[in-house]
């Protein structure tokens, strides 16, 4: 057979066109969100609209890393509409950083942002007092990391983010705790948590300091809650358990596809140190999210087929777990977000295939073996993902639910037993959400994963969910970054049109 002299060219063309090279050296932009996923709202010490923490998942790895940005909602260049003002159309607030937030630092970064690993999942925030907070984020890229990021809100409203792990710098991805470090160090490859995703916090309860950690002399038990050893500044900080889930099952041996199991990983908030005992083996079925009850942690499950669990209950003190068995009575294929009712008598669970909200009663929620029974199943708009409970005095809860495929935020009214309202036009793939309660109302912030922006939704009166309105978008659209050939990106620029 005669080989053409053009074959090197053909091979080169094939390779170069099949997989376009990704320049991982591109610096991560800190003036925008890029595939925003987890987000959390915290109240600023001086009141006002507070601070929004947003993670950029960098889902296509266009940039060198993911990021977390803190946004002072009171100092934005263009203000968000006043709560309840009901603007005629959603206000666009493209710029995140206002005057007084400081310019680039010596390392080229900004004080209000840090780098984290790509593929952020969920985030939980621990208030430390005096305008200080610590955010915990799981990222399911290479090292399956759990990050701690400290936020400090200055008296002048200036925000500062720094890495809790490592040297306190602005690149948190390097030293963040890895949950697959046992993969290579043990013959079984276990324990490990592939696809780390969900994060929740449980305050560590105590009678004496011995209940809080070791060495017990470093801890204290104050008002039945654990606090850590004094920091360099002499402050003691709340000590909680950081509960981490993972959305892919761990197999053993690694890569065999056998002996599948899921874990709930329980890390100390004051150190994020990991060892094998931190992994609670929950049997077959990956885990997605955690709802923290007074005694039990309620863990939702992914990938039930061929075996798995919609909800597993993990005892906060012993780590023992129970299966709820709900998958045999309401046959959705898997679960996403999970939350408890304000009186802990009900658990709300987002199911997939079909997309549904399951409401289950909890018999004896603080007892040794609570029994869960599905009492309602309601269809939801396509692709429901995360939910938040908005409690209402004297009435059943209102639930806010992001629906990624439908592009809406659904509001389920437990008093009515139905979806009471849908907020359209939220954006492309609404994913995470966080709540800023305002009396009997709430301002909701929703991350639009494929859109690049955060939607701001006001529910002025929680008793009137049908009046919920989209009032603003925060950030810039990422369409022209992700798809520069789109007709709307006429100049092929990277800033995107609003």
């Amino acid at each position: 057979m005669r080989v053409s002299r053009w074959w090197p060219v053909v091979v080169w063309l094939s390779v170069s066109t099949a997989c376009p090279a990704i320049d991982v050296s591109l610096p991560t932009p800190m003036d925008r969100f890029y595939f925003p996923a987890a987000l959390a709202h915290v109240d600023a010490p001086d009141g006002g609209d507070g601070v929004l923490l947003v993670t950029s998942a960098n889902f296509d790895k266009r940039f060198s890393s993911g990021a977390m940005v803190a946004v002072n909602l009171d100092t934005l260049p263009a203000r968000l509409p006043a709560f309840g003002s009901n603007p005629p159309s959603p206000v666009q607030v493209p710029l995140l950083r206002g005057v007084g937030q400081g310019g680039p630092q010596g390392d080229g970064g900004f004080r209000d942002s840090v780098l984290i690993a790509p593929f952020a999942g969920q985030m939980a925030v621990l208030p430390l007092g005096e305008g200080r907070f610590r955010a915990y984020v799981a990222t399911r890229s290479e090292f399956q990391r759990v990050h701690g990021v400290d936020l400090e809100v200055g008296t002048d409203g200036a925000l500062s983010l720094s890495c809790f792990n490592g040297d306190g710098g602005r690149n948190c991805g390097e030293a963040a705790t890895s949950l697959n470090q046992f993969e290579q160090t043990t013959t079984t490859g276990l324990p490990r948590a592939p696809g780390v995703f969900g994060v929740a916090l449980r305050a560590r309860a105590c009678v004496t300091s011995a209940d809080c950690g070791s060495p017990e002399t470093e801890y204290a038990c104050q008002a039945s809650r654990c606090v850590s050893a004094p920091t360099d500044g002499g402050r003691r900080e709340p000590a909680s358990d950081v509960l981490v889930t993972h959305i892919a099952q761990a197999d053993s041996p690694l890569g065999s596809g056998t002996n599948l199991r899921g874990y709930l990983v329980r890390l100390p908030s004051e150190s994020l140190t990991v060892n094998a005992e931190r992994f609670l083996d929950l049997g077959p079925g990956a885990t997605h999210a955690v709802a923290v009850g007074s005694r039990w942690n309620f863990v939702s499950g992914r990938f039930l087929n061929p075996s798995g669990n919609l909800i597993r209950l993990v005892d906060a003190s012993s780590g023992q777990f129970l299966s709820s068995g709900l998958e045999s009575t309401f046959r959705v294929a898997e679960a996403r977000g999970i939350a408890l009712s304000s009186n802990e008598r009900r658990v709300y669970l987002i199911g997939r295939n079909p997309d549904a909200l399951l409401v289950a009663g909890i018999d004896d929620p603080t007892g040794p073996a609570p029994r869960l029974q599905v009492v309602r199943g309601n269809p939801l708009p396509a692709g429901p993902n995360e939910l938040a409970v908005l409690s209402r005095p004297g009435r059943g809860d209102l639930l806010a639910i992001t629906c990624t495929t439908a592009g809406v935020l659904a509001l389920y009214d437990d008093e009515v037993g139905e979806v009471a309202a849908e907020v359209p036009g939220v954006g492309v793939q609404p994913f995470g959400l966080t709540v800023d309660r305002r009396g009997n109302g709430a301002r909701l912030y929703v991350s639009n994963f494929q859109d690049g922006r955060i939607a701001v939704i006001d529910v002025v009166d929680l008793d009137q969910p049908r009046n919920a309105r989209l009032v603003a978008h925060l950030g810039q659209q990422q369409l022209c970054l992700v798809r520069p050939s789109d007709p709307s990106c006429v100049d092929g620029g990277v800033d995107g049109g609003l």
Partner: protein
């Protein structure tokens, strides 16, 4: 040129196959509605393949449209197919409001037989609008979209006459529900002559319900002879009455009431609990001579009202199921009562712990029968079918409210197991339920042979629990408006005794039942409690044993030295059982008189019912790879309809975005597949 001819043939053949053979690409099969017995068509003698009785409308919720499954069998590639669009390569799409989730169709009754009109209505939860769709073959499109003042929570249609449609729409504005009536022409052509604004202006508020949401509506014709309070009530067949189910306190309470829309008088329907869906039955057609005996047994439309009980009332499937109320004749003092069978009130139809997710009641439905091992086909006056959230399809006799049973083993009671937080070396079995011989310690429990007995088929398989000083109110308690006088559900009040312990969520003091009269309970000890909140009641000393079943809930109570007897209440297999005899008997010992057990004392017994009702489930592993194969996630059904023309059952499966066809005459208990006439259309 010969190959050109072959190519032409191939192309034409391909086109023919494509027509009517296209996949539906349905996303969100949340509801289906059968378009049969349309106005102007005589059912008798009509060729189903040629008539209009051929459409099954299916929601494609996530694509904001409806699809139409053609039941005529006029498909080349499979038994049924979705109607093709104007471009036959595409499936017909009927764009409607966003996220259509619920469907209803114009209905009226002719000689007791349900006839359907030419307009269909699509709504969604939380949406303040509805689509009106023409269903005739020359329409198949949205005719009007109507905005209503608040999100729709329920809809029911009952035509005034052939020419006039009438729908009742319930909305909830966050504080109160309103039921609106809308009358409009019954044909798309006439409806088009009315502007949308004029249509909206015709909305007339008929009922207002403060503080509750209306979760279900059922419009029914009046019924001659129906009376309440000594006067005719909803008795004129030419006028509509409305059954309204409400929900309060997140489903913990609610009422079902029938309204006479002429007088606005109302009468309660005494369902065992709050209801979340309603329906009524119709009659077998008089056109078929052979069915005359069957027709004589079917009640007229509106006589029986079926309601799906809301499981949220008690927090579990124990209080769910499908119940029926008989509204014929004169209402009792408390309202119309549940259907009776063999002289006894019937119990809700339920099986296992799945929730009812769809149901269909049909007059003259056919179903497979197994008479002592001999397979046959039975045609029932009223056949019912329920789909459940655990994937099951349950057939039942909707006139007798009884599951259709197949031969099975006799019911048995397992040994009694006593557990309590006792010291490791502590004592012995405490009776509790009396036992035969000595008990054996097994782990932290004592196990013994019980003296209890059960009549065959009396109860479903479940665990019986007997708690010392156990709860007599549901988990979470009941609403209490006063700390001295409680108005409780009669079923609860009838089980109370003077001396029972009462606790209020809003008050720390302990109180006791001082008097019981019908549904009113007197309480002493908490007179100073201003805001009692919810009330919980536990058994007192006189009858301290509380007996409940994991499926049937609270069954009753007993005292030490007494014999508990359960008469025909939650019975399933009543036929052939002497209803004057107790179905469950549990003798109790006197040990607790001298050895009061700890508060955690619990005795349990397992009931193996031996019942074998006609309950089926799709076996996805029994299918090949054909177009109509039921493969994938065919696990969670939804709405279900019985096609009385073809005697087939069609169920939506939102878990797999498809519609499944069942042949009830070939359906067997357990797993079913293509050999039982099961097909799927996606």
């Amino acid at each position: 040129m010969r190959w050109h001819g072959a190519l032409l043939v191939a192309v034409l053949a391909g086109c023919t196959q494509m027509t009517g053979g296209s996949a539906g690409r349905v996303v969100g099969t949340n509801d289906v509605i059968l378009v049969d017995r349309l106005e102007g068509l005589d059912l008798a003698g009509a060729d189903p393949a040629l008539s209009l009785n051929r459409y099954l409308f299916v929601t494609s919720t996530d694509t904001n449209e409806l699809r139409v499954l053609d039941l005529s069998g006029n498909c080349s590639s499979q038994q049924r197919c979705y109607l093709p669009g104007p471009n036959p390569l595409e499936t017909l799409s009927i764009p409607v409001i966003d996220r259509p989730t619920s469907l209803a169709i114009d209905e009226r009754y002719e000689e007791g037989v349900r006839r359907k009109g030419a307009l269909l209505y699509a709504t969604r939860p939380g949406g303040p609008e509805l689509s009106i769709v023409g269903v005739a073959p020359n329409e198949l499109r949205e005719v009007r979209r109507v905005t209503v003042p608040a999100p729709v929570t329920a809809l029911s249609a009952l035509m005034v006459d052939r020419d006039t449609s009438r729908i009742f729409v319930a909305t909830f504005d966050g504080a109160a529900s309103t039921v609106w009536e809308l009358r409009h022409p019954s044909t798309p052509a006439a409806l088009r002559r009315i502007s949308t604004n004029e249509l909206v202006s015709r909305l007339a508020a008929r009922l207002r319900v403060p503080g509750a949401s209306v979760v279900a509506l059922q419009a029914i014709p009046g019924l001659p002879g129906r009376q309440a309070n000594g006067r005719p009530f909803c008795a004129d067949p030419a006028k509509a009455c409305l059954v309204v189910a409400t929900r309060r306190e997140s489903g913990a309470s609610g009422d079902t009431v029938m309204f006479d829309l002429e007088t606005l008088e109302s009468v309660r329907l005494q369902f065992p609990g709050p209801v979340r869906a309603l329906a009524t039955s119709d009659q077998v057609t008089p056109a078929d001579e052979a069915l005359r005996p069957l027709r004589a047994q079917t009640p007229p439309p509106g006589a029986l009202i079926y309601g799906v009980l809301d499981e949220e009332a008690c927090g579990s499937s124990r209080c769910g199921g499908l119940s029926a109320v008989d509204t014929r004749g004169t209402a009792a003092a408390g309202g119309f009562e549940v259907v009776r069978s063999e002289g006894f009130p019937t119990q809700p139809v339920r099986w296992n712990d799945g929730l009812v997710v769809g149901f269909s009641i049909v007059a003259g439905g056919r179903v497979a029968a197994n008479d002592a091992g001999v397979l046959d086909v039975a045609q029932l006056p009223l056949l019912g079918a329920i789909t459940t959230s655990n994937g099951e399809l349950v057939f039942f006799d909707a006139l007798e409210q009884r599951l259709l049973e197949q031969p099975g083993p006799p019911s048995t009671l397992g040994p009694v197991r006593f557990t309590a937080e006792l010291a490791p070396d502590a004592g012995a079995y405490v009776a509790g339920p009396a036992v035969v011989g000595d008990a054996t310690r097994v782990g932290d429990a004592f196990v013994a042979t019980s003296q209890a007995s059960i009549v065959d088929g009396a109860l479903r398989s479940q665990e019986l629990s007997i708690r010392w000083r156990g709860p007599l109110t549901p988990e979470g308690g009941l609403v209490a408006s006063s700390s001295t006088r409680l108005e409780l559900p009669r079923a609860v009040a009838q089980k109370l005794s003077v001396g029972d312990e009462v606790s209020f969520a809003g008050c720390p003091m302990s109180a006791r039942v001082s008097a019981v009269s019908d549904a009113v309970v007197g309480v002493q000890g908490a007179e100073s409690c201003a805001a009692p909140g919810r009330v919980s009641i536990r058994a007192g000393a006189s009858r301290p044993f509380v007996i409940s079943g994991s499926v049937d809930g609270l069954l009753g109570r007993s005292g030490a030295g007494e014999t508990f007897q359960l008469f025909a209440t939650p019975a399933v297999r009543l036929a052939g059982v002497d209803p004057s005899q107790p179905l469950l008997v549990i003798p109790f010992g006197r040990d607790t008189d001298t050895t009061p057990p700890p508060a955690t004392a619990l005795w349990t017994m397992a009931i193996d019912s031996g019942l074998a009702p006609l309950v089926s489930q799709v076996d996805v592993n029994s299918f090949g790879t054909g177009l109509s194969a039921c493969t994938g996630n065919v696990t969670l059904p939804g709405a279900v309809v019985y096609d009385v023309v073809r005697h087939r059952l069609f169920a939506a499966y939102p878990s797999a975005n498809l519609v499944t066809e069942f042949d009830p005459t070939r359906t067997v208990r357990g797993l079913i597949g293509p050999n039982n006439g099961v097909f799927c259309y996606r």
